[in-house]
Symmetry: C2
Subunit: 375 residues, 2 copies
């Protein structure tokens, strides 16, 4: 962790013909046009963003593209998870076709995870697959959703049940735009940063325990934390692009987390994705301790760090109350990571020692949830 | 062409990890369950079909699956091109998720090109890609749309502008079910059979000129013609799965054809896809002759064969009139095979000598269309 400086970092995602770079650093939004023109000469672009992000960042991006001679159209959707719907997907697809973009042209999702998943999906199906360049503006999107090629929308059946694997040509993560995030939104993204330490990088988790305040404040530690996170994700994705095995490790905290999001009706006033993941990671460690796989000390250490940064860690931290354990289990069982009716969880043997556990008995989950609901 | 007999034929589509077989022969619908159970043990299935096809073929398929121990749900959509829409896609996706199918389970499109394109697309996006087994019931679907992994829906901007490349696990083409097609529908599918001869198999075209009546009547010549067509398509797809080059040859007749379908509002009472392709192929040969690429004799030979089987070959054969040449050109220019504003056509140097022509001047197309409209 010695090489921390303010220069843009570069992480390479190795996927053969579908390989690409992630550029990370402050002020990159202003250089987006030049980076695109240099790598993809002659392309035209459709920017897809939401009205909140547009207010802060659309004009600078458009100016950067225009200055580099990249023609662009802009498509603005409503902010929030509800835009990950068939109806909004159809709007975005129509907007791209209205702009008469061709297969070699690019879509630029400018925004957080919602915009990236939605517009990435649209780019994956217009003309059976256009190119796209992610410009993530939330911490969550920079360290997670913009990397790895998962795109999608939600249905009444659950989150991200419809989508495609579609890899971008380039990811441009401007770490300075994160200054416009609310503290709550930054913290939520930080849950995914901590996750990479918890999966298989215990040294990174220890580094975060020492340096998290500097990451929140900005500067070189922020660039370093984002680059480490992108590298961690890139390593997993390179091993298992289509989630046939190891990639499931990235779901640490997500099976519980998705169930909580569903149980709160995806109401971001109550719970946002990263908060669900934070509680989910704390639960995954406590569940692992209960199954005698990990120590209680490790579970407490994880909970202490997440609490220190201000993230929720317990079911009782979800405002407005939750349904009973049986109902939560139903939400878990509808999660797409269920395989042949058996429950699959990411469990752990300690900090940085996560693994994919198949055939976890539903009865164990149920009785653990009953206990967790009373804490 | 000596090996013509009634035994099921098998064509292999070579695409590395995505390779699959096409089984062709009379009575295969009744063997579908056994073929699936043998190749994909333990899967559950969602059959997607339309109400017309369901009346004739759904029960036999369900019985075949049940007899082999393959559980299935059925999703029925309205017949016709209008079902290739976002709205119907969402219905099919919901139906698959309602049936709680998992990523390894299968979707079975049972029907013609519309059902195959729609349900193939749905299977490509549910859980970011499920498996599927095509059971095409029209000649068009057996020789063209069920082979090669192109799926999609239409928008107001044009046909098949939204979709994914997604290869099936298996294609089962029961040549006996084609007896339930109307003569018009069989002829329309035959246009695509003739196309393979015209692209690069002059011997096959000559064989069709001699044997087309036997193909229409059924029996071993029908199996042979379908197997030859599937092999021809499989060869092209194996060379260029994602349509970066040679695969465009399969669009012979389609640039004109799609424009005619758009100009007639996709009204199947006036023009169905294969009829548009027949006129389009005749026009492509006449346009090539006009550009001094091919002989007028070849253009007349092609037109004579298509006319002999009862297919339309001229713009004046489209009932209800067509818009002017300028408007037809607009429909052509919106076609997705336009690259960087230049017009791309499949032209020919004679029967079985087609090639991809880029940068065809719009002015040449316009003046050719003006002439063709008056014939």
């Amino acid at each position: 962790m010695s090489d921390v400086n303010a220069a843009p970092a570069k992480v390479h995602v190795s996927l053969g013909a579908r390989s690409y770079d992630i550029l990370i650093g402050p002020g990159l939004l202003q250089r987006t046009g030049a980076e695109i023109a240099a790598r993809l000469p002659g392309v035209r672009a459709a920017i897809v963003t939401d009205s909140n992000v547009a207010a802060d960042h659309l004009a600078p991006l458009q100016e950067s593209l225009a200055a580099a001679g990249v023609e662009s159209a802009a498509i603005t959707v409503a902010p929030g998870e509800r835009s990950k719907s068939f109806a909004t997907l159809e709007e975005v697809v129509s907007g791209i076709l209205d702009a008469r973009l061709e297969r070699g042209d690019i879509v630029i999702p400018l925004g957080g995870g919602v915009v990236g998943d939605l517009a990435g999906f649209a780019s994956g199906i217009v003309r059976r697959g256009m190119r796209f360049v992610q410009v993530p503006t939330s911490l969550l999107a920079q360290v997670d959703s913009s990397v790895g090629g998962k795109t999608g929308i939600n249905t009444v059946h659950g989150k991200n049940l419809v989508g495609v694997f579609h890899q971008p040509q380039l990811v441009i993560a401007d770490t300075a735009v994160l200054d416009t995030l609310s503290p709550r939104e930054f913290r939520a993204g930080y849950a995914e940063v901590a996750k990479y330490g918890l999966i298989d990088r215990p040294d990174f988790f220890a580094w975060l325990e020492k340096n998290w305040q500097a990451v929140f404040a900005g500067g070189p530690e922020r660039v370093e934390a984002i680059a480490q996170s992108c590298q961690a994700k890139a390593d997993v994705v390179a091993r298992d692009e289509l989630e046939k095995g190891d990639r499931a490790l990235l779901n640490l905290g997500h099976t519980f987390g998705h169930a909580l999001e569903a149980a709160t009706g995806y109401d971001s006033a109550r719970l946002v994705h990263g908060e669900g993941v934070a509680i989910g990671m704390a639960l995954a460690h406590r569940f692992s301790a209960r199954l005698n796989l990990a120590s209680v000390d490790d579970a407490e250490r994880v909970e202490a760090h997440l609490a220190a940064v201000g993230l929720p860690t317990r079911l009782s931290h979800v405002p407005g109350g939750l349904p009973g354990a049986e109902q939560l289990l139903t939400y878990i069982a509808q999660d797409k990571k269920v395989s042949r009716g058996a429950l699959t969880f990411i469990l752990t043997r300690g900090v940085g020692q996560s693994f994919v556990a198949k055939d976890v008995p539903a009865s164990e989950v149920l009785s653990f949830l009953e206990g967790a609901l009373s804490q």
